[in-house]
Amino acid sequence: MATAAATRTNWWNGGRSPFNVEYGKLMMWYFLMSDAFTFGAFLISYGTIRFSQNYWPNPNEVFNAFPGAGHANLPLAFVSLMTFILIMSSVTMVLAVHEGHHNNKKAVVKWLAWTVVGGIAFLACQAWEWTHLITGEHAVMNGNALSVIGQTTTVNPWGPLADVSSATAALQNTPHNILVTLAHGQHHDMGHEQLAALTDDKLRGMINIAELHVREQGPVAFGGYFYAITGFHGFHVTSGVVINIVMLLMAQNGVFEKRGHYLMIEKAGLYWHFVDLVWVFVFLCFYLI
């Protein structure tokens, strides 16, 4: 048995690699280790800032939307779907590697194609999530008036809930265009132009302040860290998809068949699984705790 022989071998006597791994694969491992430190540094820096704040937004309240579900409150449902997609694509990748071991070209191509589909699906989900966060319209306290903001790298609408009396007072100082946006949010049947023609007092009368759930503005660092880290991960997914497409074309054209082995797929697979591995920790740090 190979394992029994491996334990009896004196690996450091020279004449053989003490690591028993092909050069390219070993270097892929070391690259991934360094990449783990890059991601680790980002996430730890996020942790430091989070620990330095008295208040941090609750992920269940920030990430509660689902495409096509309107304003339904579905905490973490969409990101769970994204996690499932990525785990699933990791499985199809490992199946492609497995078929590569058996020099089964047709199955390698099939599973790689599914992996590419999974990667693209994940990226599409992330694009929707970012768009939803950036273009969201949330009523927040802005000094003694109200503002409507989305989640960007410069503002954060997820501070503590403001009490209704101070929000009502702030409504009196809120400028016309903001009042129009707030009224439109509660009266979808009326267009912006139609609302803009109304007087401020009329608009204020249409706005149900309790239903607005007005918040204080939250820690600004939240947006920068969220977009930088999920963006950096998304960039890894993107390059992983490109690598997998290249592998798919090479396998389809019989390059690996001629070579007699599918080692290249294993290296691409390592990278792809690493992307899934990083997501485990991004998911942990931004969504779960």
Binding site: S17, N54, S80, I87, M88, V94
Partner: protein
Amino acid sequence: MEHHTETTEVTFHHEPSQGTKRIWKTFWILLGITVIELALGFFMYLFPDLPSFVVLFLKGVIVILSLAKAFYIVGVFMHLGDEIRNMVMTIVVPLMLFVWFIGAFLWDGNSYRTMRNRYDPSMENKTMQAPTQKKDTSVLPLH
């Protein structure tokens, strides 16, 4: 079956596994752990008034479950568990740096918060909600 004869670095080859049972088993484990994590997170969302040590405990459990997921992904999907010990150690030992890295930097963030609250009371008034009082913690006074 003829093995990969292309490289001189590899002394012993693994027999390629015959079935995909192990892969699917790992998939179900990963999925199961994720569902448990989400259930715990949802539990904390449903009961926002849990005492802080319970929240801390649940978050600790979620962290450990995530580490278990990482273990399965690296060990089974990336086949690191099938490599020889020499090679595994060159990957795992440097990663031990994270123990210090995480501890030191979270400690630093916490001490920054504590000191700001202590020496800049307006900070506390601006950013803290009345019911979630966080007490001065764990940072020794400067002498």
